[in-house]
């Protein structure tokens, strides 16, 4: 139905082939009931082929820097349907294809069809649909078509992460997710309709073609923020996110956190790009939301003891960082600070890519831990580095990357953002200056908190002694899992060491968003010394290597001994006296208890010889537990009051008819 056919080497052709392969990947498995393992292998093969195809398409689309669009002749009454691939779309497609390919490989080890035939079939199918629908929504240029892909994405993600629906918490998480995503989609309904009101068509207008000052534009903006923010998990719309990420299979969590959240970001960016330079307050709102989610997200993450919940909150934090970048870029645009515009948007976009790399890596890593120990509770882990020699360094790399440490990719994107914010501080005046100052401070605080958070995760889960029998029995995961993680880790390192090439990926997307910048002749590399950054990263590695060689020589030339850890005189230290996840975070949680509201269940100790008692602590979600649930509860009470209207008394029912009649008659009168 595509009116303009693409050549085989065409980026659009490759991308659509990749998309179709992904969508189809789980289908053969559905018919291979007896041979589930074959179905899964086939699904992997198709998904990987789709991913390669799609990646090739993305790279060539970015390289060409041009927009290809096609009109599709569809029969739905919403005007013509267009799909288009521009560098911005290609950038987001990059993470879709990369992560879905990795997850498909990973699934073979993590969720082997041989062990779970029924669920693995469903999982392959829905993951295929999920990645295809994400790719589709990225290239959709008709609002209704976008919404269709969007909702298919939302629903297939639901089915993917609730495959183990026998578990209560999975169902609860699914329910929460479904309601939230549906609410968000409704906001998008409104948004696209309002947009249609402005343009007269459901086709997305060209970049920078709408005025943000006409009535309704602000409403579009807020509807987009709500609808897309709900999906992206911007605080306080993140309520579905922790439970959904925690309770799904890990590779689904990786897809959701690594890619699906970004669809929200994509939506926000795409919609804002339709407007001519927007007023500064739009940027301020976005920036404020970003700062709020970033700080609150990471503060909530630190207190978590469930490794996947923790990663989920950290996703909220990273989404916050991305949002900060977008907001700063908008402010930069409106105050005419080109560096800020460039680096805010460039940093945000690069962070989108980076986050999908390292967060997927970490989720896959957490999957490996769960595979090994069967628990998500960090407090029950420990000593896994010895038992999982392949996974541990990969996870460490991911943890370092997410903390934004050089020489990894997280540092590069955060560097761009810092640089942009600093340039704002350096040059701008009062209100924007305040915003940028806050942004720098927030980013610094987030960085330090993230570091504490991931030191805790890595240290408590992988290092020290096993805290439970499960951790004691931990084992390395199959090669497919390590391979998927290895590829992601490698990508993290590559972006960190070759930031110039990462900037090349992002650059065309920034130009697509702000066509006026093309004329300026500058690009990210002219603003930021990316080569030096890469070189310093290499130098750092070299320095460490030299020091390591020296150290190694010294070690060899002197006697070595091994002994138990020094217990400071304590004679029989057991694994249980180690610092735990809870105790590591205790100080920070206490510092931020206004935000995170920890709940402690203290043991009751009474009498002489008290029985054994337990202490547990839990960090509930502040927004969900303190705001949303009480409101829902009150609503429920109000509703149950109204439900008495239908109390089974027929007489009353007749009375309703009469009253309706009378009311209508009175109204007309």
């Amino acid at each position: 139905m595509i009116t303009t056919a693409g050549k085989p080497a065409d980026p659009a052709f490759l991308i659509i082939t990749g998309l179709a392969l992904n969508a189809f990947s789980g289908v053969p498995g559905l018919f291979l009931k007896r041979a589930a393992a074959v179905g899964q292998k086939l699904a992997t093969l198709l998904a990987v082929a789709g991913a390669l195809c799609g990646l090739a398409g993305c790279f060539s689309a970015i390289a060409s820097g041009e927009t290809e669009s096609f009109l599709i002749n569809w029969s739905l009454p919403f005007g013509p349907c267009e799909i288009a691939i521009d560098p911005l779309a290609a950038l987001f497609l990059l993470s879709v294809f990369l992560i879905s390919g990795c997850c498909a490989v990973y699934a073979n080890g993590y969720w082997p069809a041989a062990k779970q035939p029924a669920t693995s079939r469903a999982l392959s199918f829905f993951i295929g649909i999920l990645s295809a629908s994400m790719a589709l929504l990225i290239i959709a240029r008709n609002g209704v078509f976008f919404l269709m892909a969007w909702e298919v994405m939302a629903v297939s993600a639901y089915f993917a992460f609730t495959v183990e629906s026998g578990k209560v918490e999975v169902r609860k998480a699914g329910m929460l997710y479904l309601v939230c995503t549906h609410t968000g989609t409704m906001a998008l309904f409104v948004m696209f309709v309002l947009l249609r009101n402005m343009t007269g068509s459901f086709l997305l207008p060209p970049t920078a073609s709408l005025s943000p000052f006409v009535p309704g534009a602000a409403l579009v903006f807020f509807a987009a923020l709500f609808g897309f923010g709900m999906k992206a998990g911007i605080m306080p719309l993140h309520i579905w996110l922790p439970a959904a990420h925690a309770n799904g299979p890990s590779h689904v969590s990786a897809m959701m956190s690594g890619v699906m959240l970004k669809m929200g970001i994509y939506g926000i960016i795409r919609i804002i790009s339709l407007f001519t330079p927007v007023p500064a307050w739009w940027g301020a709102v976005v920036l404020g939301l970003g700062i709020f989610s970033g700080v609150t997200g990471i503060v909530s993450a630190i207190g978590q003891n469930d490794i996947k919940r923790l990663l989920a909150y950290s996703s909220i934090e990273n989404i916050g960082i991305i949002t900060m970048g977008i907001g700063a870029a908008l402010i930069g645009q409106s105050i005419g600070n080109q560096t800020l515009l460039f680096l805010g948007m460039g940093g945000a976009l690069l962070h989108v890519l980076n986050h999908s790399l390292f967060k997927s890596l970490l989720f896959l890593g957490s999957g490996a831990i769960i595979h090994a120990t069967g628990t998500r509770e960090i407090n029950r882990m420990g000593g896994l580095a010895r038992r999982m020699p392949r996974t541990a360094p990969l996870f460490l790399l991911g943890a370092m990357a997410i903390c934004g440490l050089p020489p990894l990719n997280g540092f590069v994107s955060e560097f761009l953002l810092y640089f942009g914010f600093f340039s704002g501080v350096k040059e701008s005046t009062a209100p924007a200056l305040l915003g940028m100052g806050l942004a720098v401070t927030a980013l610094a605080l987030i960085g330090a908190l993230a570091l504490a958070c991931f030191v805790k995760v890595y240290g408590v889960a992988f290092l020290g002694l096993p805290r439970s029998a499960e951790a004691e029995d931990g084992h390395e995961s199959p090669w497919q899992m390590s391979a998927a993680m290895g590829l992601l880790a490698l990508s993290c390192l590559a972006v960190g060491l070759l930031p110039r090439y990462a900037a090349v990926l992002v650059q065309p997307a920034v130009f697509t968003l702000f066509p006026s910048l093309v004329a300026s002749g500058s690009n990210i590399s002219t603003h930021v010394p990316l080569d030096v950054l890469g070189a310093i990263g290499a130098a750092l590695i070299a320095a460490a290597a030299i020091l390591a060689v020296v150290y190694h020589r010294r070690l060899k030339s002197a006697p070595q001994a091994s002994a138990a850890t020094w217990g400071c005189g304590y004679l029989q230290p057991s694994a249980r006296i180690q610092y735990t996840s809870t105790s590591f975070a205790e100080m920070l949680v206490r510092l931020f208890r206004g935000t995170v509201r920890p709940r402690y269940e203290l043991p009751k100790i009474s009498g002489f010889m008290p029985a054994s008692a337990g202490f547990s602590s839990r960090i509930p979600d502040t927004v969900l537990d303190a705001a949303i649930l009480p409101v829902l509860r009150v609503t429920g009470i109000v509703f149950s009051f109204f439900r008495r209207l239908q109390n089974g008394e027929q007489n009353l029912y007749v009375l309703y008819i009469f009253i309706t009649l009378v009311l209508l008659l009175v109204w007309i009168h």
Partner: protein
Amino acid sequence: MTDILIHLLLTIFMPPLLLGVIGKTKAAFAGRVGAPFLQPYYDLAKLIRKGSVFSDTTTWIFRAGPIVTLAATLVAALLIPLGSHNSPVSFAGDMVLFAYLFALGRFFTTTAALDTGSSFEGMGAAREATFACLAEPTLFFTLMTLSRLSGSLSLTPMLTNLTVSLWFRAGAALILLVGGMFIVLLAENCRIPFDDPTTHLELTMIHEVMVLDHSGPAFAYILYGAAVKLFVIGAFFIHIALPIKTGNPLLDWGVFILSMLGLAVAIGVVESIMARLRLLRIPQLLVAACILSAFSMLLILR
């Protein structure tokens, strides 16, 4: 070229001297003769030759910790200008790298501590990570103030642009800034009143408790790394506190060395006349530093 050479030599060889000066000052306050100025060098030489004991629990992280930390600190040392001389490596945005290199060091120090599985080292790691969260904003406030003052985004121009005359123009702001930075200097380098580098009492410490299990060359790396860190952050601090410039390159080097020694003496004095703070007070002091620097930024920006 000469300046770079001097920079490298100073960075490599001077840091332990500062420790020696601090030790001597404290000894003087205590009425003792004290260890010689060069004692830290002897210690390092001794440690590097010594054998090592490793805990059964540890993995390669434990060994990598001191190495990476030292490497990161040394790279950071390349970014900081000493006195009025430019740093060997300077580029726009290097202050962010500067801050994050220390973060990298912190990451490895704390994970290495957790690698031992000791509850004490875990405690130290938790404290280190926690207090860093409070110190980090102060550093960035300072960086923002400096970049605004100098109109640049690189450490060298930011710091070398500071002059004595600035003290006359914006003295109040700079005093606040110096106060904030001094607190961060002490906290980052684990000096009294935050931490006591001389004791090895487990329950009261942050940094020292994390390295309890390290021995031999690794411990040498750690000690040396700590000294370099003190040197680097000290150099940063000196720029703000004593922006004295003579115009003569060699004279400037002298001024710088003297200032650094003076700083070491000052630290020694502080350590001698103050007691270590209660742990609960430390966050308060760090937040105070943060407020000082934020206020100073406001004064400059207004």
